[in-house]
Amino acid sequence: MMAGVSRETWISAVLVALLVAVPLAATAAGEPFYVTLATRIAILALAAVGLNIALGLGGLVSFGHAAFFGLGGYVAGIFATHAFNGAPLPFGFAATTAMPVIWLVAIALCGLVALPIGAISLRTAGVYFIMITLAFAQMIYYFAVSWPDYGGEDGLSIYVRNSFPGLNTAQPLPYFLLCLGLLAAGMVLFWCIQGSRFGAALEASRQNATRLAAVGITPFGIRLAAFVISAMMTGLAGALFADLNRFVSPSMLSWHMSGELIVLIILGGKGRLFGPLAGAMVYVLFEYALGGITERWQFFLGLILLGVVLFARGGLLGLLAGKTRHG
């Protein structure tokens, strides 16, 4: 796709090197806080990579991906609570704190929920699609707020971080590496999709759905598949996020979260492999740096976001690396 080593590749390599090097150095220097910060970046980037499949490749502006992010988080939280209390889960499953099981459940649940949501939402297009995904997310949000068994509005604490065989996840560094590995897996998946026939059809459905239909591919199935895959990946990130904070609350489901996920992608550059990572890095570091200086960091975040939307259409990567894609 690109001849030689492009500037985008260079920048991406630097970003990845930074993300790996900083936590290692911070651990060596005894500053676990920065490891946690990097973990946060990795997890948010994973969620945004997931959304990027639907939004960047498929052009499906889902304003409800927080629903899946939060669902994943609640899976982690509910498993941990049940395991902590020794109470069995509904349908007689024994609760476990093993992360791989939780991840699988989170992914499967998000897929199952995304299937009907996607099938209904994809009947609409444009503004209506944005609004109906928002409506579904709000539905789940209010459900979580008013369901008292799992904390309701107050959220749910995870007393002991869930475990992964062979790793001490309570330590910041192993947990970071775990998240980093999953982020890498997610990005590889994104890359595979982008290069596959499915990805080509998906991009075609964004650029011209009528033409895609004319060559014999129904856009609906392609879009639905992309939406479901995207939801599953975001759900996985949600489970990781809940474990990172050892807390899950309805705010993970709120429409602000959906907005933030979109912001991550736009900041970095939509439809680009490393866009979400760049966006997440900028966003988290920004939140941290400005949050230290002033309480009003959201004010400046808003200004910067406005600037990016109005003047830097390819996001930060696009600004630095030049335009490499169409549409």
Partner: protein, 288 residues
């Protein structure tokens, strides 16, 4: 009340083809302006005028500075830019007024209750809000279908280039429309401010409800906004009241209450999803 916000939003949405997430912020600005001016002057009515002026001015400013660049862009950019505006405006208001809620008193003329036929009592102020809603609905209808400005708005809606070529200053026209929508939001904010506390973030639940109303009613249709607002209001209230009772027939009381409450708060979104699933362009689409 809901109709007021939704009408302003649908005006912007339908006529200008723009998703304005910052509409809730205009609503908030209206409420704050009313509360601040009413506290300073002691008169609710001056506050009400101030809220209209402040929201319209803020709307016009927003349109000229930011929104004007967005008409040609896709919806994603519009969502993001106005999302950024929400962040800016919410933090800005917190900066100006602090995070403590302000309070507004209901003007003395409108305090008290009226007896309803059948023996119930209804607050006069709420009745007045309903009255304002009706006046605005009729006013908007007349404005859009009978006046020269309304004719231009409708023309701008169907063909931007054509009306510009005919010598109408489309940029100013859009600014005016945007300010009008903003003023309606501000009015709604001020009226509601007397019922609830005025605080940062009050606009967001209202905004989402307004979107539900518009999407149900069909984007750009004032009639749709009215019907949608009534539908959402009735469904929401009846759901909260009736669902727990219905479920109590099948479940133990405590469980029925919590499940019912959960379902009731989801109900309007379920209604919206159902309507969109069967009529993907809303109930009164086609006029836009």
């Amino acid at each position: 009340m809901l109709f007021l916000i939704a009408a302003g939003l649908t005006l912007i949405f339908g006529v200008m083809g723009l998703i304005n997430l910052a509409h809730g912020s205009l609503y908030m600005i209206g409420a704050f302006a009313c509360a601040a001016v009413a506290a300073a002057t002691g008169s609710f009515w001056i506050g009400l005028v101030a809220s209209l002026a402040a929201a319209a001015a803020a709307g016009a400013l927003m349109e000229v500075a930011v929104i004007r660049r967005l008409y040609e862009r896709d919806h994603l950019d519009q969502v993001l830019a106005t999302f950024a505006l929400i962040l800016i405006l919410s933090e800005g208001m917190r900066w100006l007024f602090g995070s403590f809620p302000l309070y507004l008193d209901i003007p003395p003329v409108l305090q008290g209750a009226v007896p309803l036929p059948g023996g119930g009592q209804y607050q006069l102020y709420r009745l007045a809000i309903i009255g304002v809603g009706i006046v605005v609905a009729v006013g908007l209808y007349l404005l859009i279908s009978r006046t020269r400005l309304g004719m231009r708005i409708r023309a701008g809606e169907s063909d931007r280039e054509m009306i510009a070529a005919l010598g109408v200053d489309i940029r100013t026209l859009y600014t005016v429309v945007f300010a009008l929508g903003a003023a309606l939001a501000g009015l709604a904010g001020a009226l509601v401010g007397a019922l609830q506390s005025v605080q940062v973030g009050m606009g967001e639940p209202a905004l989402i409800l307004a979107f539900v109303v518009i999407v149900i009613g069909g984007i750009g249709s004032i009639k749709g906004a009215l019907v949608g607002a009534v539908l959402v209001g009735v469904v929401d209230t009846m759901g909260r009241f009736l669902l727990p009772k219905l479920l109590a027939l099948a479940l133990p009381i405590s469980q029925a209450n919590s499940v019912g409450a959960a379902l009731a708060s989801m109900l309007i979104y379920i209604v919206m999803a159902l309507i969109l699933a069967f009529r993907p362009r809303g109930l009164f689409a086609g006029q836009a």
